[in-house]
Symmetry: C2
Subunit: 470 residues, 2 copies
């Protein structure tokens, strides 16, 4: 990969007529990191809303073999937007003009810089819902959600970002602007480029517009909070609820460490002596959700719950969900560095995964907190550490590797919703095998032969290891 | 592409130790057609349940550049299983051993020869549901459904086959056996090979096992039958219901020609003078569906329905849905040859598409019947003709091309659920443009450089035209 020259910057300046080109080091520094690890300074940052200009820049990049790094709000936990090979960053967060809700076709048309929560609001104003709800939705862009195929609590019932994308406008690595899919929910015309691009972490093209499928907003919801003296009982309750004919919209787990952290951070009467808590949301018809809340409470009682609460007012419901939302801010009070994983296991393996996580915690003497989307097996083991403590970070590296090994041994996957990026690339072959990884590499090589689109992501470099301790 | 030699057959015989090799012309003839057009005799048909043997055969095929055609029950309407270049047919309909329902993980594990309706039954016995319900499900294999990404009436609420596939075992064009995805509903580890393979019509690999996501079976359902004096009013009712906050599980349209055909075929009191009928199914909690049936009836009344019926008994409900199921058998009584299309438009364009279909019908003086999955824009314009009438078939060819043009002009797609195969390949560039089609070709070329996997499908040959009149 070449580094950029003065001549390159001149060429870029000739292409970008409607936007800004940032070359000062102080400006570029703002684009050197995301919510994961490491800082990498890009050579230049481009801010333009003009798709044709971006396409011309990609043509230039492809000719000159200059890396292109598309970027939204950089809330990524796996290193997706990091410009690890220098080159150009495209700041797509400014491309936030289009947010059109079409009630008749039940779709939203959005540009990549729109915040996901703004899509939620716009859809709800028309009685509709865009289901994917990553916890970062108030600060993350839909473009980033699309690149990483983000999930969220509602994934249990409604699926993830990919399940709601029916069409894209993309710039190919050759700098051509193409449309994939369209405005119809059914489309089997050739290969599904839409679902290949979504979740490909910016390595196959740049998303400049998306058509999202919406659904009618469920008219009512109920919340159930269940407190357990044993994490294993909580796991059994989760399994039993899911096989009872009810599909909750959310089913979130908080282990004792998360409960304690939240209660210490902002006291609200959470039971610090409980081993686990499950928070369940049911949505749908008012009569249905009342009935289902009753059934869920009954199932919890059958497996020996300590206490079940069904909050009655809107404020009470919000309090319960606030506790879950506070886990992330609460745990970083303990130590400054949070290593947030999203290793995912088949639902039935949640109790066993919890057991193995406790072993890893003990073995490496780390502050490990477990919470997340238990209903779909997508746990979030978070390690809380201090990155200035090199000895501790070495233990973290080993613990993270063992978390991945445990998930894969249980038939799970490295990443349920955060993506591979730089953080999990070294572990890809462990999950996919050489043949599976090679199949992905063949696709990358075919579509981006000069490896200009977000290079350094997903695919491990020879001998690459996870390094958090540098 | 080479034709096969005696030496090839000897090599195949050496590989296949556990199955049958069919070389007699009479045996091979049974594998020369599907439910679309044309007959193409394969050189040899292989029946084995042994995945390693199949993988060895693919290695042999890749070395010798012999075409491989995977095949289920061949109910395909677009030519997917046709061995258009000769070579080997793999009869995967015999691979029907595995049908395992895992209630805890909410998944089914199936081998490709299992009938889709058997998956429905097995899931329902455990209180679960596999939602995709192509009308052919009692005779089509899940392998074929996966290859074509089949839809069905329930696609409106629940999506299509692809939305329920979370893992695959495939044989790559190089003859390697790999796993994609897994047993978790969330998985963002690298490119989504699972969703790339599903719907790729056997051109990128052979599916030898699949992991399907199941959901709890909804406890109740209600049916609403609405009869309209105007097709345009029926279209308005569809739009209004979908924007009223209700998502029916099915919403099927029958135009006057379909109503008349069914009533003539098996009289049951359908209103032959009505311009259109909509059949709606609501599923979910008993109180919810009762309430929603009432709301749907109300919306229909607001747009000027002639009559709304809400059947009360199970038998009455079944009668209503039987009328819809009889459309296909009823229309082939009129003339022997049915050309069944599945051009799909954005929901809001259904009335306009219906108008254009009537114009095409008049222009070419053909028997055109319109029915299908109106709720998701996936209409089934069916032309009824006689393939021995060459002059008529020439008019059919032109009408089909105009149906595709109309769908694309309205922002729709060539195929919502039947696939491209041989039938729609000539029209691919019209929808995708050269750059989009080239992106798909690059993927095919990268994964199957010798073009051995189902050659002659999806991608048009230079100058290829739709020919039904030969």
């Amino acid at each position: 990969m070449k580094s950029m020259t003065v001549h390159h910057i001149e060429e870029i300046s000739a292409i970008v007529k409607t936007g800004r080109i940032l070359t000062n080091e102080s400006d570029r520094f703002s684009y050197s990191f995301d919510a994961s690890f490491g800082t990498y300074l890009p050579d230049v940052v481009i801010q333009t809303k003009n798709v044709e200009e971006l396409a011309e820049l990609v043509k230039f990049a492809n000719r000159e073999k200059v890396p292109v790094y598309p970027r939204g709000q950089a809330t990524c936990l796996s290193g997706g937007p990091l410009p690890v090979k220098g080159g150009m960053v495209f700041d797509l967060s400014i491309m936030d003009d289009v947010l059109e809700i079409n009630e008749e076709d039940l779709i939203a048309i959005v540009s990549p810089g729109v915040l996901t929560s703004d899509i939620h609001k716009a859809a709800e104003q028309k009685g509709l819902m865009y289901p994917p709800d990553p916890s970062s939705s108030h600060v993350s862009t839909i473009g980033g959600n699309l690149a990483e195929n983000s999930g969220g609590p509602r994934g249990l019932k409604y699926g993830v970002t990919k399940d709601y994308v029916i069409g894209l406008e993309i710039i190919t690595p050759q700098g051509e602007i193409i449309q994939t899919g369209g405005r119809t929910v059914k489309n089997v015309t050739g290969y599904d480029l839409t679902k290949l691009i979504v979740g490909s972490e910016g390595t196959l093209g740049i998303i400049t517009k998306a058509i999202l499928r919406l659904i009618p907003k469920p008219p009512a919801s109920e919340t159930v909070m269940a407190i357990f003296d044993s994490l294993v009982d909580a796991g059994r309750a989760i399994s039993k609820i899911l096989s009872s004919g009810i599909l909750p919209s959310k089913m979130e787990l908080m282990d004792q460490a998360s409960i304690v952290a939240v209660e210490n951070y902002e006291p609200s009467g959470l039971p610090k002596d409980a081993d686990a808590m499950i928070l369940i949301e049911l949505d749908g018809h008012p009569a249905a959700v009342r009935d289902e809340a009753e059934q869920v409470s009954q199932v919890c009682k059958e497996v020996g719950v300590r206490e079940v609460r069904v909050p009655q007012t809107k404020a009470e419901k919000e309090d319960v969900w606030k506790a879950r939302k506070l886990v992330s801010p609460a745990i970083v009070r303990i130590k400054p560095t949070k290593i947030s994983e999203d290793a995912t296991v088949p639902r039935s393996k949640i109790p066993e995964m919890c057991r193995r996580l406790q072993e890893i915690k003990k073995k490496y003497n780390l502050h490990l907190v477990v919470f997340g989307h238990a209903g779909d097996g997508n746990l979030h083991p978070n390690i809380i550490a201090d990155k200035s403590d090199k000895e501790e970070m070495l233990r973290v590296e080993k613990a993270v590797a063992e978390i991945f090994e445990a998930a894969i041994a249980l038939g799970g996957t490295l990443s349920g919703e955060h993506g591979i990026g730089t953080m999990k690339a070294p572990f890809m072959e462990m999950e996919l095998g050489a043949a599976g990884l090679n199949m992905m590499k063949s696709i990358k090589q075919a579509l981006d032969p000069n490896n200009i689109m977000n290079p350094g992501k997903i695919f491990p470099e020879p001998g690459q290891k996870l390094v958090l301790s540098k």
